[in-house]
Symmetry: C2
DNA sequence: GAGTTGACGAGACCGTAAGTCTCGATAGAG
DNA sequence: CTCTATCGAGACTTACGGTCTCGTCAACTC
């Protein structure tokens, strides 16, 4: 009751906050350093000590705000990447599908996203918690693709008995497979052919 | 993996081999222990010390014959798995493709292959040399699938302009994607639908 | 302004696991 | 019998994620 000038929207807090406050510049420095290192070392492991030193920060500062190294890396990536994935609307299923596939493929070619993703997947192989977060991160992108397919099915551009989840997995399966192995390109031509293949249209 | 001491057909060898010889039982014990541990701990990391202790063997004995932990694991898996992958011949492209896809999917359900593969991929994420070996291991299986598709294309069951490499990647992409994420089944029904999807046949 | 509180940089410290080194014992070849 | 390479055992080194401590410093309260 004795806090009339306190922060608003905090009717429950027994004590709002005293003491030194979090330094935003420090947060940025850590995220920037992480992204820089993650992008430079393509796939190579990035250590916590390196991030802290690069950011000019103590390790404890890092662990005060993030529970693990993986969450820092993921935060650094998502902070840079767009959280929103716009669903295309070109009027035709073929056009929409081609747009989404192209956008997915494109994301793997623009640094620093590509090397960062590679590093992140490497880390996720050892860190189950990070693997969950990464799944959640990709969920939005999967949902957009599935939405496009469902719309096409409603309009009758896609057979009613097609397995949409399988089609989504065909796109993301090819994407990750080629992205991680690097044995075949993920360019526009590949996007064209995959789109045609999925819709049963031999070009 | 390492068998440089071939007594015959060695006109160049300055000294054939003196001293105590390699104990075959020891080799088997290591491989068996590795496979057992790899299968039990589904995806969980398997340490070198554990393998050595389980096999009743010194660590140095292990490192005398294998250059790294990953190669031991891969050797344990390939020693168990069939190196030869028979190409099916059902007479029709659809039948052959369905058979290969089904076999690929099936391999992920029979222990100890499935958990071993999972562990191996985890290790490969950190060990580039193991990643190469794993790629080489899967190469034979990819080749079989591509062969089936090429045969179908020659017979005219598949449009001449279809991208066979992309089709192979669709199969293995879906396989690995679902195998590692586990968000969707890899059963016979999925194999049916994937086969139909690839051949443009709405069932 | 004085005092309290919590963030800060720095770095010692711990646990774990891959890989190396050493040692005494042992087994096959000559 | 001797020479040499393998064996089991385990100490040791290195690397890294994560924790703990310490002295300092900034923001908020009284």
């Amino acid at each position: 009751m004795a806090d009339p000038a306190g922060p608003p929207a905090s009717p429950q807090g027994p004590r709002p906050h005293t003491g030194r406050q979090r330094n935003e510049a420090t947060r940025r420095a850590i995220l920037d350093a992480a992204l820089r290192l993650i992008a430079d070392a393509d796939g190579a492991p990035v250590t916590v000590d390196t991030i802290a030193r690069e950011a000019g920060v103590g390790k404890q500062t890092l662990y005060r705000w993030w529970p693990s190294k993986g969450t820092v890396l993921l935060d650094a990536l998502t902070d840079h990447a767009e959280r929103e994935v716009p669903a295309p609307d070109t009027g035709s299923l073929h056009g929409d599908l081609r747009a989404v596939v192209g956008a997915v493929f494109e994301s793997a070619r623009t640094p620093p996203t590509a090397p960062a993703l590679r590093t992140l997947v490497r880390e996720a192989a050892r860190d189950p918690q990070l693997a969950d977060l990464l799944r959640e991160f990709t969920q939005a992108r999967r949902a957009v693709l599935r939405e496009v397919l469902a719309r096409g099915q409603e309009r009758g551009d896609l057979a009613a008995d097609r397995d949409l989840d399988l089609m989504v997995d065909q796109v993301y399966g090819v994407f990750w497979y080629r992205f991680l192995l690097g044995h075949a390109p993920l360019d526009g031509a590949a996007a064209d052919r995959l789109t045609d293949s999925l819709l049963g249209e031999a070009s």
